[in-house]
Amino acid sequence: MPTVGVKRDLLFTALGRTYTDEEFDELCFEYGLELDEITSEKEIISREQGGSKASGASDVILYKIDVPANRYDLLCLEGLVRGLQVFMNKMEAPRYRRVRPVSGEPQRLVITKETAAVRPHAVAAVLRNITFTQERYDSFIELQDKLHQNVCRKRSLVAIGTHDLDTISGPFTYTAKPPGEISFKPLNQTKEYTATQLMSLYKTDSHLKHFLHIIEDKPVYPVIYDSNGVVLSMPPIINGDHSKISLETKNVFIECTATDVTKAKIVLDMMVTMFSEYCAQPFTVEEAEVVYPDGKTCKYPELAYRKEKLSSEFINRKVGINESTETLARLLTKMCLRSEVTGAGDEIEVEIPPTRSDVIHACDIMEDAAMAFGFNNIPYTTPLTYTVAHQLPVNKLTELLRQELAAAGFTEALTFALCSKEDIADKLGKKISETRAVHIANPKTAEFQVARTTLLPGLLKTVAANRKMPLPLKLFEISDVVLKDETKDVGARNSRRFCAVYYNKSPGFEVIHGLLDRTMQLLEEKSARGDGYHIQAAEGKKGGGGGWHFRACRNSLNR
């Protein structure tokens, strides 16, 4: 779950009242948020780096709020406040509008065909006559970061660039060039670098090094120029220093470059809906025109309001309540989904704003209605579904056997299904290629290289970890191993195995032999060649720990 950190007092000022921690926690619970932590900058630094580093850090109380992963409109203070105020009926949801420039042509962003090879899509918009304070500026930067982390999938899908429009002049060109041909002074640097030099420079930057791989090996890197050749940015890595935003910036040019155009539009919409609050004409966004390589043009931001019709009967039926159409329309409006009774039966027309890209089906609307009604106000009912239960036969048999084995004096172990290649091969005197094991592509350590093909290594490791315990150790496990199987759709299957181990100063093979006999007795298998089970010595191999190897042959255990 993404976490948003907001200054408590700023939050309360914006909400128009103060809350106790408990009251705010309650409000969060109802709205689907979680007040995860109450802390301060000083406390955070103290905890992470030690008390001495924390002196001089801010004491201001911070609320860390967990937000559902699909609510991009709640990732900043502005969005949280707006959502909560509408939820509490303190205000109406604002109406976001795309407007034409007061005079002249809209800003243009021209995409050239070279970008197709690396990062084909781009959208743009302008925030006109905006006023920043330090807090608003911090929030502006923070939201970009959060969006980059979440919906932008760490900038790989979308990257946001924000620029002081008064320092640059359009039309802007979004193109892609070989790294050696790109040269500019990036943000927070004092001299110019080529793109190639920047890739090496940022290899040690703790923040930026994670994004280099997105374009590093490409023949061309994306870059945005203004009409005078000034570099706005080299997405998704870094913006140019020339067009950087400051507290004095009045006009902002926002561009989003992307590999997923749907996400780019959502991200742009989020940025402008959240911060157009601070424009001279609040909640208006000046359009920008994007020109594609084939000459087609498109105006952004989309700021689309989508309408969907559903019946109050649908909502009542799915939730299990019985509210009037008017009440439901009111409840939905509280969730920023402005709704009206159309008059056609129990039909409600719901308007889904651009901030609610998470609403893609009527069931999303229905959930919001239930949230506004209050989940804990819904009466419990018991489903009348009549069914007779069946157990999975192999599980049933396992349960029966486990108890008998414990009665026979053995203790149950529960070992890991993942292990190293050595565990199932070398240590048992086998070659890994003979084991039919399933291999894992991205193990973090050797312990996760393969899925076990036998329960024996796990039990032996359990003995090793517990060898100081009083002897003898008598352990068993009935669980699944994994084997390759071409007849299955995924190419592998589980196989239920039973394994037992006896550990003492003397090997006690007869104990294990006795346990095997007991198990066969419980499964009604006679000790007889042919029509029962028998034991024979295995050829050749000796186990790593010495001792005998045997194979117990028996007829089917498939009961």
Partner: protein, 456 residues
């Protein structure tokens, strides 16, 4: 005495008393005076060289004490070496006085502080005397009969047991521990949960397949291919066998469409869905993948029948490990598919399920899962911690998941899940998951763990 006492030949009362006694050194001082007084006494009017003084047996200890009491002084610059002189005419040997008091039995005249000081100097010690006052017991006799410890077959055969006295059984000690096997606590809890589901009429799903394709684990559940959970960091991908085959082709096409274009009343995610992503084999991240397979199978039936399914089995996550998280753990899942199920029904069934665990106070919080809408986190009130704690996750499966399978439109599927390890660790008071699961298990804990009664 103890054996006489135990058969009530005598009765004994334990009394203890304390008194102060002089140590050996203390006795010496009581007779000859303290070291420091003797030092004082051995210095003639013209003084004594320090080296000579130190040669005396009481010299070393006495010197420093006499100095600190200011009875003597040292002239370091004196010719012939440092010389010790008296500073006062006469002294009172208080230490000797106090010790004499104790010797005479008048230790009560001294304050505790004074006695403890002398104790520190090892001149006094506090002695406890335990004494038994013995009187005749209820079975007093002047002859002692030997007591038998055990009845033997010979005694029974000969009838001699009638005249024997038997030693009473010692109930204070522990008995002989039976030589038994034990079941693993996590499996004991699993058995109980399994029992609860069976009692509620839920059928066990075939979850014996750890390897799953991304298609069933993610795509069929309407989890988009760009979702973070499908990352290398969170999921174990396979290198061999790397890809799955044999998907129900028309179903796959419908899944592709609902992701990339929408349909079934949905806007969809509007991204380019790739079959190569769906083919990637993984270690399943949840047993919901099996629920998806079962629901698809249900949808292929001629006629829809309502079902209740459950599973308790292993899942795998490639996340950061810590004291409460491992790469593999067990997930408990319950699923109900029927016509017209409501959110209220989901709450009702959760209530019934958790009541069987002894949890009756529940609260629901709106949450988010890619494949359920509405989704709810389930909280219960913990009397000990005095707060609400999360006990599970639940939701109603999305139409984008159910309709492409072919389930009728009026069929709702509700589901919920929780981990098996968490309630087990709480029930058995285990803080580190590695002591419970895996080879580093605390075997003593396994031997000693009680039966699993979930409702208490």
């Amino acid at each position: 005495m103890t054996s006489c006492w135990s058969v009530q030949l005598i009765s004994a009362e334990l009394r203890s008393s304390k008194h102060w006694e002089l140590s050996g050194e203390g006795t010496e001082i009581a007779e000859q005076g303290s070291h420091e007084a003797r030092v004082f006494g051995s210095i003639p009017p013209q003084g004594l060289t320090q080296s000579d003084l130190m040669k005396l047996s009481f010299g070393k200890i006495g010197f420093s004490k006499a100095m600190s009491s200011k009875w003597i002084r040292v002239d370091k610059a004196h010719e012939g070496g440092p010389r010790v002189f008296r500073t006062v005419e006469s002294i009172e040997d208080q230490v000797r006085e106090k010790l004499l008091l104790v010797q005479r039995g008048n230790s009560s005249q001294l304050e505790e502080k004074e006695k403890n000081e002398l104790k520190k100097r090892k001149l006094l010690s506090e002695v406890t005397v335990k004494s038994y006052w013995i009187t005749k017991g209820s079975s007093f006799s002047t002859t002692i009969t030997k007591q038998e410890t055990e009845l033997t077959p010979e005694m029974i055969a000969s009838g001699s047991w009638k005249e024997k006295k038997f030693k009473p059984y010692n109930f204070q000690a522990m008995g002989v521990a039976p030589d038994c096997g034990h079941m693993h606590p996590l499996m004991k809890v699993r058995t109980q949960f399994r029992q609860i589901f069976l009692e509620m009429g839920f059928t066990e799903m075939p979850t014996n397949n750890f390897i799953e394709s991304s298609f069933w684990n993610f795509d069929s559940l309407f989890q988009p291919q760009q979702h973070p959970a499908r990352d290398q960091h969170d999921t174990f991908f396979l290198s061999d066998p790397a890809l799955a085959h044999d998907f129900p082709q028309d179903y796959l096409e419908r899944v592709k469409k609902v992701h990339s274009e929408g349909g079934y009343g949905s806007q969809g995610y509007k991204y380019a869905w790739k079959v190569e992503e769906a083919q990637k084999n993984i270690l399943r991240t949840h047993t919901t993948a099996v629920s998806a397979r079962m629901l698809y199978k249900l949808a292929q039936q001629e006629k829809f029948t309502p079902v209740k399914y459950f599973s308790i089995d292993r899942v795998f996550r490639n996340e950061t490990l810590d004291a409460t998280h491992l790469a593999e753990f067990h997930q408990i899942e319950g699923v109900v598919a029927d016509r017209g199920l409501t959110l209220g029904d989901l709450m009702g069934i959760l209530h019934a399920f958790f009541t069987k665990l002894g949890i009756t106070k529940l609260r629901f919080k709106p949450a988010y899962n890619p494949y359920t809408e509405p989704s709810m986190e389930v909280f219960s009130y913990h009397e000990g911690l005095k707060k609400w704690v999360e006990v599970g996750n639940s939701g109603v499966f999305r139409p984008e998941m159910l309709l492409p399978m072919g389930l009728p439109e009026d069929v709702s599927v509700i589901a919920w899940g929780l981990s098996l390890e968490r309630p087990t660790m709480i029930k058995y008071g285990i803080n580190n998951i590695r002591e419970l699961v895996g080879h580093k298990v605390n075997l003593q804990m396994v031997y000693d763990s009680p039966v699993c009664r979930l409702e208490s």
